[in-house]
Every structure is written in structure tokens, then in C-alpha cells.
Symmetry: C2
């Protein structure tokens, strides 16, 4: 792959640092608050339904997640939830936003080795402010040329990104944990992709088309990308 | 100014289309919901206080505004606000997100005339998804090379933008309604700026350092930028 690649795009959440487990933990606490009204498994399902209904309006990130938790709480409790419990939900969301950043294995070593030979960018569909804050806390800011925020990781957004970076599709490789967001749309526009699976994946990210495994590489440890690039 | 400029950055809200009056209208309705608990002028002041406290955590945009309205309602009603009223606040926010886009005077004519000679970008500190949606609704998407989302419009973020666009500061001019966000940080890094005041400005945007009017141009109608550029 080496000779052709100019820019490497890294997904951020659950590729460079822990994210989904923090959301899961917040969801568990949310279900705990709602437990006087509804069993936990139902609350979880209802929250996911609200998130999907609001996704087009709110996009990805913690603030939309907070609003969807509040809306779900009001709906499933049939407005019996107390103002104090809504306050608890807001505080859950603020705690989520203030979590420390926990790097995944070998991240810094990989970035350090790649930086001299490539332009590295962070390509994420999170909220810009959130991702900037995490990047700052992570200590990794020095390795990245800049952050590219995408409202969603669809093919047309990757095409816009390639256009905006002034390169050709074959100059670009994307590295990430989500088949749906980081891999399929990227190989579909003629770029390359390396899949680094993570043990916890949001169910929305698992809802993708069938795929042809021969078109991208999967590595089970990030450090292995150094053998490919 | 003409010969030196390569890229023109346009602010979006209240430069290309109506924004602040929609927020004001939402705030008025919010004060109406809270009126059983607190007089309107106090509610407004408390909301602004909450927004400023949350700004570093939430950044700019409608979702943070919604969360700050809910938090303010809980606090100033001392948790007496009802779940039904919180639902009303969420719906106010969703209505705000779904407002049609109303273009300001001469916007399309100005963009059409400038596009052949410059690369036009939208440089905004709103939420990417919101701004993409408004740009789509506005019908102006064809005039812009891309959207640059900035977590805040500080000098260092404009410097990053210039670096990221691969140009020199003197190649760039910013056009916008906010002295604090669109003008002062831009002239401070050696770029140019054209101020197009708008009749309604969020009080946060009015909180800026003293300025030297000789360093930028003010026009009272957007169409006048054509005489300068």
C-alpha cells in the first residue's frame, strides 16, 4: 500500500481512544434512573428508538444523546419522571463529556512512526468541540495535521473530503473500527481502508450492507498497520 | 483589495440568512413557559448565565441551547417545572432546528458575482449538521467550495484555517456580522475583514475588546462588498 498513499485518515472514537464503553456505562446509569418506571432492557430499546428518530435532526455526539435520553425519559414514564431525575440525566451527560481520554494500545507508537511519511488527519463524525477536547486531552494533537468533521460518514462525504484535501481517492487510506462508517463508504469511492475491530460497537454501526472482505484489510491490533503502510 | 485575495470566508448566521431573531423568538416562548415561576426578564438573564457556564462544554448551536434552556428551567423553578413543560421546551428547540432558511438581501447576487474570481467558503462556529442543513435549504450550496466548521472563532482557529487552506493570511478576507467573531481575530492574524452589521446580535457577540475601525471596512448592505472586492 505504501507508495501510493499520501494521507491517512484516522477515525477517533474506539480507534484511538475508548468511547463506546463510556456511552454504555452512561446508558446503564440512565436505565437505573428510569428503573422505577420501566425495566432496563425496555428503556435501552426505547432510547435507541429515540436516538434513531432524532439522528437526522441532532446528528452524532453527546449533546444529541443527552436530549434523546431526556425525551425518552419523559415519554416512557408518561411524564411521571421528576425534575430531579431529569437533572440527574443532565449530569450523566456532563460527566460523559468530562471523562478522561483513555488511549487504546500502541496508538502513540503507531502515529509517531507514520507521521514522518504521511499527512495524518482525524476524520470523525462526532461533534467538533468534543473531538478537539478529546484530542487535546489525549496528547496526540502534535501528530495530526487537522481534524475533519463529517456530519455523517457516507460515500458522498468522503468524496467531498478527498476533493477538499486536493488528492485522488487512491492517495487516501482510512483506518477505523466501524465497517459501516470507516470501511465500506471508503472502499466504494476507490480509496483504501484498514479495519481495526473494537470489542464494543454501537448497534447503529452494525447495521450495514453485506461486504466483500477481499476489498479491505482487517488487523486485530493497531500496531499491525505498520506492516501494511 | 481585489488582487491579493484568493479565498473569501463568509460567516453564515445573520450574514447570509436570518438566525438570531429565530433564537430570540424561541427565548421569548421559553420565557412564556417559565412565566408561572419567574418574570420574563429574569428568565432571560438566567438563561444567558447558564449558556455562558456551559459554553466551554457544549459550544455553539441549537442542541447546547436546548440543554441550557432545560437546565435553566429546572434551576429557576427549583425543580417545580413539570415534565409536560420540559417537553414543550424540547419541542421549541426542535421547531428552531426545523425553521425555514430566510436569505438576507442580495446574498445570491453577491455570491454569483464573486464565485468566478474567488474560492468561497462558509466559515462558521455553528454545528456542522445544522449549517449543512441550512446551506442545503438555502439553495446556496453551489456557490461554496466547502464548509469550515470552527469550534470557536478565535485567532488561533483562524490561523489553523489559513494553514489548512494552504494560503497566506493576506490571501484571505472574512465577511461577517460579528465584530468579535468575524472581524477582530481575522485582522489580528493579518487577514482582511469586511463587517456587515445585522440589527440583532446575541449579547455574547457584543462582548469584545476595543477596536481600531481603520483596520477593517464596514458596509451596511452586503451588495457593497462588490465595490471593494
Amino acid at each position: 500500500m505504501k507508495n501510493k498513499i499520501k494521507i491517512i485518515g484516522f477515525d477517533a472514537d474506539d480507534t484511538l481512544w475508548v468511547n463506546e464503553p463510556l456511552y454504555r456505562e452512561t446508558e446503564n446509569q440512565f436505565c437505573g434512573i428510569l428503573s422505577p418506571y420501566f425495566p432496563e432492557n425496555v428503556t435501552n430499546k426505547e432510547l435507541f428508538k429515540t436516538e434513531m428518530q432524532n439522528l437526522e435532526m441532532y446528528g452524532y455526539g453527546a449533546k444529541g444523546f443527552m436530549l434523546s435520553m431526556i425525551e425518552t425519559a419523559l415519554r416512557i414514564s408518561q411524564n411521571k419522571i421528576t425534575p430531579g431525575e431529569i437533572n440527574q440525566i443532565i449530569n450523566l451527560g456532563k460527566d460523559l463529556l468530562n471523562q478522561p481520554v483513555i488511549l487504546l494500545d500502541d496508538v502513540e507508537e503507531v502515529l509517531k512512526k507514520l507521521q514522518p511519511d504521511y499527512k495524518l488527519i482525524l476524520a470523525t463524525k462526532g461533534d467538533l468541540l468534543d473531538q478537539e477536547r478529546k484530542l487535546k486531552k489525549s496528547g496526540l494533537i502534535k501528530y495530526f495535521h487537522h481534524i475533519e468533521i463529517m456530519s455523517d460518514k457516507h460515500e458522498k462525504n468522503y468524496s467531498k473530503l478527498i476533493h477538499h484535501l486536493d488528492i485522488e481517492p487512491h492517495d487516501f487510506v482510512m483506518i477505523g473500527n466501524s465497517i459501516k462508517s470507516d470501511i465500506l463508504p471508503v472502499i466504494n469511492i476507490g480509496s483504501k481502508a484498514i479495519h481495526v475491530p473494537y470489542h464494543t460497537t454501537w448497534q447503529h454501526e452494525n447495521d450495514h450492507d453485506e461486504m466483500d472482505n477481499s476489498k479491505f484489510v482487517t488487523v486485530y491490533k493497531l500496531i499491525e498497520v505498520l506492516n501494511i503502510l
